[in-house]
């Protein structure tokens, strides 16, 4: 009982410490660089008659795979190949994780 009360406090102190130790103190829900531009075309909400696929709530591994294949040209595209070439693997991973965590 006592331990159960203590654990959340300890956890929050530890997680705070790890965020501080990580360098910049940042809100956990901050979008990674590049992500906010995506929603200009890939809407957060459903858009009637839009042919552009939504990415919010898609599996991160799927987004990563598409971005890498757009970048290499393995998967054909109109504009996404040109955009994907601006991002490295780590940046793609971060953006994919961010959109995967957004409500579908």
């Amino acid at each position: 009982m006592k331990h159960r009360l203590l654990l959340p406090a300890l956890a929050s102190v530890l997680s705070l410490a790890s965020v501080v130790a990580g360098g910049a103190v940042r809100a956990a829900d901050t979008a990674p660089p590049g992500a906010s531009s995506c929603t200009g075309c890939h809407a957060a909400q459903r858009i009637p008659d839009s042919v552009i696929p939504r990415i919010a709530g898609r599996k991160a591994s799927d987004i990563v795979q598409f971005m890498r294949e757009y970048r290499s040209g393995a998967w054909p595209s109109t504009v996404m190949g040109r955009i994907a070439k601006g991002f490295d693997d780590q940046q793609i991973d971060a953006i994919a994780a961010w959109f995967a965590a957004q409500p579908e």
């Binding site: 102190v13 906010s36 531009s37 601006g86």
Partner: protein, 420 residues
């Protein structure tokens, strides 16, 4: 030996040490956003979405926003002007306070904005997104009265409707003249999309007519794609005169619809002057515009390099490699809003990455695009090498049709994100 009591003390000590950063981790304060276009309305909504505690006021005199992207479709009778218009109900519902009036003065040291209705707003951070104003006086003969004879239609609305009326009233066989300014200006591919869509409409309704583009530049955005499209679809209808062949318009005579260059006088049946531009007037007043007429900013939070505490986004700002587009303004606004939340919480914003994509229509179902990915480098937003570029010159299958569909889907998406 760590007892429960000492552990609690340690926890409390850690918590108290942590308290200042917890307190400063939450942004609070007052942000004023001047200008309710793609930049300003996005910034206001994003600020509120990221930090609901912020007091965000959007200053915008118009009850309805008229969007420029797709307004060339109105000229070609492919859309009505009402489809370009959006109200601010969505923005208000998002928790933004709307001040439906114009900003008349900004005091950067007192951190206040004076409004035309007499009120004065104080701010912790000010976002200015005033768009463009026509640089009246930069082209001899072209003033507000001249724009009623030779519309610019470079701010969508009544000017767009006027130009469409003139085109519809023109006799078949008439000459349409478009003058295009030197860089920089709003929507670099816009004059050439306009020429394309007017030609598209002329070909259907007034096929003996011709279109002349008088250009103050020797190259333009998506040039080869446009020129290939013109050769393919509008053979012999569109003539483009570059700077080096005497394309620069040095004055206009609105009474005779005449464009004057160093080499010739071109009398138009319909004359569309796309004039030199500058940052919206309030930017000049606030002291955030430099001698070029545009606003220099740093590339992370887009804070003015001339007036601290004021951020400038969209067409009025000097954004390095990024063009003046609605997509860019929207992307900059989201980055700016996130950076302001960080700054108000006492944190340093991280370097952003921004994307721009601009679609143009060569015909109703023939789309082309240019894209870019940008990051701060040596103090300016710079193209990431190897990324971006235009649609390919050679394509197979339905590529151009697909890009036309993406163009209209983008417009629906961005207007929903900003105004929906």
């Amino acid at each position: 030996m760590a007892t429960r009591r000492t552990f609690l003390k340690l926890t409390a000590a850690a918590a108290s040490l942590a308290t200042p950063s917890i307190a400063s981790a939450q942004a609070s304060g007052r942000v004023v956003v001047a200008g309710g276009g793609f930049g300003g309305a996005t910034a206001a909504r994003t600020l509120k979405a990221l930090e609901p505690k912020l007091d965000v006021t959007l200053v915008e005199p118009n009850a309805t926003f008229t969007a420029c992207p797709f307004s060339n479709n109105v000229l070609a009778d492919l859309r009505e002007i009402s489809q370009q218009q959006f109200g601010y109900d969505g923005v208000k519902k998002a928790g933004v306070t709307l001040a439906q009036t114009s900003a008349t003065a900004v005091d950067a040291s007192a951190k206040t904005v004076t409004l035309a209705d007499g009120n004065k707003l104080s701010y912790d951070r000010l976002v200015m997104s005033p768009g463009i104003d026509i640089n009246w006086g930069a082209l001899p003969g072209y003033d507000e009265a001249a724009a009623e004879k030779m519309p610019h239609a470079w701010k969508a609305g009544a000017q767009t409707v006027l130009l469409r009326q003139q085109l519809q009233a023109m006799d078949d066989g008439g000459l349409v003249v478009i003058s295009s300014p030197a860089n920089p200006f709003r929507c670099p591919p816009g004059p050439y999309e306009r020429a394309s869509l007017i030609a598209y409409w002329l070909k259907i309704w007034k096929p003996k007519s011709k279109l002349l583009i008088l250009d103050s530049k020797d190259t333009f955005s998506k040039q080869r794609l446009f020129q290939n499209g013109w050769a393919e679809l509008y053979q012999g209808m569109i003539e483009w005169v570059p700077l080096s062949q005497g394309g620069k318009v040095t004055s206009v005579d609105p009474s005779t619809l005449t464009f004057v260059t160093d080499f010739a006088r071109h009398k138009a049946a319909v004359g569309n002057v796309i004039p030199p531009q500058k940052a919206g007037t309030i930017a000049q007043q606030a002291g955030v515009a430099d001698r070029t007429g545009w606003c220099p900013v740093e590339p992370v939070a887009f804070e003015s390099t001339l007036r601290p505490g004021i951020h400038v986004i969209g067409d009025s700002a000097i954004m390095g490699g990024m063009p003046k587009s609605a997509f860019a303004a929207n992307a900059q606004a989201k980055v700016c809003a996130a950076a302001i939340v960080e700054l108000l919480a006492g944190r340093k914003p991280v370097d952003p990455i921004l994307i721009n994509t601009c679609y143009s229509l060569v015909a109703a179902d023939y789309g082309i695009s240019v894209a870019g990915v940008y990051r701060p480098d040596k103090g300016v937003l710079t193209d990431i090498p190897g990324a971006g570029g235009t649609s390919p010159l050679e394509v197979v299958g339905g590529f151009r049709g697909q890009e036309a569909l993406y163009a209209s889907s983008w417009f629906k998406t961005i207007t929903t994100e900003v105004f929906g």
